[in-house]
């Protein structure tokens, strides 16, 4: 059961500012508010994994998923983000909406979160990691590894459909179970939203992982 209607959630999330100048190297695609709201609404209404939970948002960017998690009743959310410009936008978004139960920590999700201090802390991890293309090869899996360490229960994440088999194999090695709960088309070039040919749709899987029996 979700405390807010999907339409209302999406309305709020449309008010969340995105990146001013997305950085290619960090693969900063903002999570579209429509995708973020559908994803979060499912996490709460189908799996009851936000309300009253301690939630982490890895690579939190402008804070779209952190803010949405709060709106659906997360008790406390911590966003982890590397980039100072993204953090500035996150800070403004959280301040504008006067949200008291969201923190942000500036750190390297890959390097700083694979030490043990945050291990098993979070009930739920949500993330829209870099897809791990070109310069960032493998980055998506390294984010997932951090997520598995941090969580004690559920992880929700977006990954390119083309990586599905690899993710299944890798998560099995960590004794983490996972399933694709939705398939979506992700328009990564919203700057060109009025020019259909210039925007690229990529096929993305919405994954749900259970890390409660993990071995990592």
């Amino acid at each position: 059961m979700a405390r807010m209607k999907l339409r209302k959630l999406e309305e709020y999330l449309q008010g969340v500012d995105g990146f001013e100048k997305p950085k290619i190297l960090l693969e900063q695609y903002p999570t579209p508010s429509h995708i973020a709201s559908c994803m979060l609404f499912d996490i709460q209404s189908k799996y009851d994994d936000l309300e009253n939970k301690l939630v982490a948002d890895l690579g939190s960017g402008s804070g779209m998923l952190s803010i949405g998690a709060f709106l659906l009743g997360a008790q406390f959310t911590v966003g982890f983000e590397l980039d100072s410009d993204a953090i500035e936008i996150f800070r403004n978004n959280v301040a504008d909406m006067e949200l008291p139960a969201i923190d942000c920590v500036q750190c390297d999700v890959i390097r700083d979160l694979t030490i043990d201090s945050w291990d098993n802390v979070f009930d739920t991890v949500v993330m829209n990691p870099p897809f791990g293309t070109k310069h960032n090869a493998g980055m998506d899996m390294r984010f997932l590894e951090s997520a598995v360490r941090l969580s004690n229960q559920s992880i929700y994440s977006l990954h390119k459909t083309s990586t599905r088999d690899y993710i299944s194999k890798k998560t099995k090695e960590w004794s983490v179970t996972g399933e694709v709960v939705a398939k979506l088309r992700y328009n990564i070039d919203s700057l060109y939203k009025f020019h259909k040919k210039s925007s690229v749709d990529i096929e993305v899987d919405f994954w749900k992982f259970d890390s409660s029996n993990k071995n990592i």
Binding site: L54, Q75, L82, P100, Q106, C107, R111, I115, S117
Partner: protein, 124 residues
């Protein structure tokens, strides 16, 4: 930065640092926010926290009255205590200040509520 977040931060990523915990917290400016009290949440959270550091932080923000130095076994039934811990952990927001590595003295600034834990390449 709320004190729940503070409780998990370490400087262990610095090369040569063994424990890096707890970081020394210096508060320049703090605010009090209001969040919904959920006793079950606090009860579930407490075993994941380092309790001596919770108490130390409580003293630092002048909220340690009625908060025991050591957590007894029946804390889940003590609504007053859970309420106090809720306030300490989730409602005190450190806006400006710093965190200091106990082993190297490296400073991590807290600016407009966000701690910057990033290290330079030559520190890791």
């Amino acid at each position: 930065m709320k004190l729940i977040t503070y409780n998990f931060l370490t400087s262990k990523c610095i090369r040569g640092v063994k424990v890096g915990y707890p970081l020394k917290l210096k508060i320049v400016q703090k605010e009090v926010v209001q969040t919904d009290f959920n006793p079950e949440f606090i009860t579930r959270l407490l075993p994941r926290l380092d309790y001596p550091t919770v108490h130390m932080a409580a003293e630092l923000v002048d909220c340690a009255e009625g908060v025991p130095k050591e957590l007894g076994e029946n804390y889940a039934a003590d609504q007053d205590l859970l309420q106090k811990l809720h306030h300490i952990l989730l409602e005190i927001d450190i806006i400006e200040g710093q965190l200091e590595c106990p082993e190297t003295g490296r400073i991590f600034p807290i600016t407009q509520g966000i701690p910057n834990m990033l290290l330079n390449e030559d520190e890791v």
